[in-house]
Symmetry: C2
């Protein structure tokens, strides 16, 4: 049976309050404000459990480590800002893409990622989340 620990609550809250998919490391940092001694292994274990329970879903972008967000958002896509590297949900979809595949191929699903500048980075606002910038 599942138990309600402070750690699990902190992890769940961290993701629920973020308005975007978070990396495990970001979840750790956010959840540690509530549970200072929290370990990264606990974050991974809970992320996995919460995904299996259907509460969270993994967000995989090309060439990126998996991020996690709450389920509920129906079919949607993602946008990654090339300046701050953050990922945002896009609640729009180009629609039927089956016609794009070669003859004989059957298309069942698709993933779409948009790249560019988020609204904050588009305006002259100071760069956000520079700590997660790639080297």
């Amino acid at each position: 049976m599942e138990r309600n620990t402070r750690q699990r609550s902190a992890i769940r809250d961290a993701i629920a309050q973020a308005q975007r998919p978070l990396l495990p490391q970001e979840v750790l940092e956010a959840a540690r404000t509530e549970v200072p001694g929290l370990g990264i292994a606990t974050v991974y274990r809970n992320l996995k459990a919460l995904v299996e329970e259907g509460e969270l879903q993994a967000v995989n972008l090309p060439g990126e480590n998996p991020r996690f967000e709450v389920v509920g958002h129906r079919h949607h896509h993602h946008f990654q800002c090339r300046q701050c590297q953050r990922v945002f949900d896009v609640h729009a979809c180009p629609g039927d893409l089956g016609r794009l595949a070669p003859q004989g191929f059957t298309v069942e699903d698709h993933d779409l990622t948009l790249y560019g500048r988020c609204s904050e980075c588009s305006s002259g606002a100071p760069p956000h989340g520079s700590s997660h910038t790639h080297s």
Copy 2:
């Protein structure tokens, strides 16, 4: 100055002859038919060098390790077969996707991955490349 080694030729040939993007491990296996003692580190070093030279490009699919293919194909996308896990090029594109992003966001580029069955796996043909199937 760059040197022409047997290893580099074997790696280049392996990728050129494949009709799809290859994983480093697949490149190693293919190139070893020509250079048996080839090491994986040499594969990685050459892949990186060939990408920097502009001869190869990395193909990153969501949740997958990077694959490599020859450059030349202009803007295109990819299709991954859910049965054999192989990746194929798709020389079609849904076109302008800038309208999908939220207000204030600027779209500069996009990545699209289609999922389904490749032609071989759609027909009753024997499963291909089972050695690369995920556990």
